[in-house]
């Protein structure tokens, strides 16, 4: 049985020009211990579909699906309090801007202990011990000292590690990573990706990696879903996707990579896929 099973997800936003469909009938599933990459450009709805599963969309969004089940529990129509028992504990998420995702008014230690307090009900000493363990697991040096630091005192890479620590604090079954390395430098990106993959293997977590970077996909994914303007264009295992892409869009996307440039000019994605023009 799949860990996360979504069928025919539709997300509509109320805008000043009428309803806007950010996600248009997307189906996907992730098994325990599997790494699924969702690839797409901006406007493809890749982040929105995961935010919908987590219940993190604003009130202007209307979420409908035939099926949205996590670990056997139906996410559709779940009450807010029931949902709060799952997210952050069994299903957690990390975001693109690490420094902006942490509360600037509180120390990082407070923020990670908050998760432990709410979900695991640990007492103060146990929380501190676990927080230090987690910081060590994500590779933050001097963990005991770092607990008292504020987000603005740390670099982007370190804040992302803190975010990852918060996300895995309760040993989640599924971790959703929404463009976790896009805002980071290349060398830090490699460290964070290595960390994520190590944690994923150690804890047998399901990992959904949302990205627009095909290199990240190649280096991390087992299976890949390609999205464009809210629709799923292709779903395949990573090797098949790169070796023999079936959808035109995927082919065009791979051809537009500068590393695949054959001539003097890059092939551009044709009229049908005027992604950024809309």
């Amino acid at each position: 049985m799949a860990l996360l099973d979504i069928e025919n997800l539709v997300v509509e936003f109320q805008t000043s020009t009428g309803p806007f469909r950010a996600v248009d009938g997307v189906s996907l599933n992730v098994d325990a211990g599997e790494v699924l990459a969702i690839v797409g450009e901006s406007g493809s709805g890749k982040s929105v579909s995961m935010l919908a599963a987590m219940g993190l969309l604003p009130w202007t969004a209307k979420v409908t699906a035939d099926k949205m089940v996590f670990d056997g529990r139906n996410l559709l129509g779940m009450s807010a309090s029931e949902r709060r028992k799952i997210i952050g504990k069994d299903m957690s998420m990390i975001f693109q801007e690490p420094i902006a995702s942490l509360n600037p008014c509180f120390t990082v230690g407070f923020q990670i202990e908050e998760v432990l307090r709410i979900h695991l009900r640990l007492d103060k000493a146990a929380r501190r011990k676990r927080a230090i363990e987690l910081f060590e697991a994500v590779g933050i040096p001097n963990p005991a000292e770092r607990l008292g630091h504020f987000p603005h005192q740390m670099s982007g890479g370190q804040c992302q590690r803190v975010m990852i620590a918060i996300a895995i604090a309760c040993n989640p079954k599924l971790l959703i990573a929404d463009e976790p390395t896009t805002a980071l430098d290349v060398t830090i990106q490699k460290q964070i990706l290595d960390l994520l993959m190590r944690l994923q293997t150690e804890h047998r977590m399901g990992l959904i990696m949302i990205t627009h970077n095909m290199g990240v996909v190649a280096e991390t994914a087992d299976r890949v879903i390609v999205q464009y303007k809210g629709r799923k264009m292709e779903e395949a295992d990573v090797l098949s996707l790169f070796e023999s892409p079936k959808s035109d869009y995927t082919r065009a996307l791979l051809a537009a990579l500068p590393e695949n440039a054959t001539g003097d000019r890059l092939p551009t994605i044709g009229e049908i896929f005027m992604g950024a023009a809309q």
């Binding site: 109320q14 000043s16 020009t17 806007f20 202007t60 005027m274 023009a277 809309q278």
Partner: protein
């Protein structure tokens, strides 16, 4: 070269503005009332049944038409010396709107100028301007206006000058804050790289992008000016009788609060409704113009 298209369903600026403005029902009501007041002010000579400063002998302090002693010729009654209340209220809109407009414009123009200079140049110029503004802000505004009026003499024009000075610091602060945050943005640097000089950068590049909070502040200054002018008139230092200004009407009718309450109630209601309408409108404007609150 491939052909590019933009969003064909992009709404015009005005319709997008109206979409957000109309979400706030209070703001729409306020806007409607304000329009009504504006129309009354413009068409006052046509609407008002009587000349507002004309005295009717023997018709003093008549109650409104729905009371037993009311006279259908004077729908809302007459004041202490026999002038028609309704006409005076209608003509009063002219003064109130005029005061609001002049004060808001004067303080806005002055305040924005000082704010742009302070925000752009920073350093000593900034410190000096802001300290002067702090000093002005430290005074209770009505008191400062009274002092100025005492120096310059009572009357509407002097009252307006006084209120403009007192309202300036708000504009200066807002503009300065907006300019400081905008001047580091890339489009300003781009204009500088294109060779733009100081004046062009200040007024043509940066200032147009700071307008949203200023417009909101201007509506608030408008309503505050009406209130302040009424207060000054109430104290006898603003518009002088027989000018049909609402605050002055209140002052004239103070002694009749117990015996002829409508003399005080109607001008007071007019002030209340107008100021409330403009404040509600300002609220809606802020919601509509603040890009951070945009939901789509």
């Amino acid at each position: 070269m491939s052909v590019i298209t933009t969003k064909s369903t992009q709404p015009s600026g005005l319709s997008e503005f109206w979409y957000y403005f109309s979400r706030n029902k209070g703001a729409v009501v306020g806007f409607g009332v304000f329009l009504l007041v504006l129309l009354m002010a413009i068409f006052a000579p046509l609407i008002a049944p009587h000349n507002p400063i004309l005295l009717y002998e023997g018709m003093q302090r008549l109650p409104p038409v729905w009371s037993e002693k009311g006279n259908p010729m004077f729908l809302l009654g007459t004041d202490a010396v026999g002038r028609d209340m309704l006409s005076r209220l209608i003509y009063g809109t002219r003064f109130s709107l005029f005061i609001g407009l002049v004060v808001a414009s004067l303080s806005a123009v002055d305040g924005v100028l000082l704010g742009v200079v302070a925000g752009y140049f920073r350093g000593r110029v900034d410190t000096f301007i802001m300290r002067v503004m702090d000093i002005i802000l430290a005074f209770p505004s009505l008191l400062l206006a009274l002092v100025l009026v005492a120096v310059l003499g009572p009357g509407l024009v002097n009252a307006m000058i006084a209120f403009s000075i007192v309202n300036q610091p708000h504009f200066v602060r807002l503009t300065r804050a907006a300019v400081i945050s905008e001047r580091e943005k890339e489009y300003v640097v781009a204009s500088r790289v294109a060779g733009a000089g100081t004046f062009r950068l200040m007024f043509k590049t940066i200032l147009p992008n700071c307008m949203a909070p200023l417009i909101v502040q201007a509506t608030l200054a408008f309503s505050a000016a009406i209130l302040d002018a009424a207060a000054l008139g109430f104290l006898g230092q603003g518009a002088q009788p027989p000018t049909p200004e609402w605050g002055t009407m209140l002052a004239d009718s103070r002694e009749f609060l117990q015996s002829n309450p409508w003399l005080v109630t109607f001008p007071g209601l007019c002030i209340l409704i107008t100021v409330l309408a403009i404040n509600l409108m300002g609220d809606g404007l802020r919601d509509a113009l603040d890009p951070k609150l945009k939901r789509s």
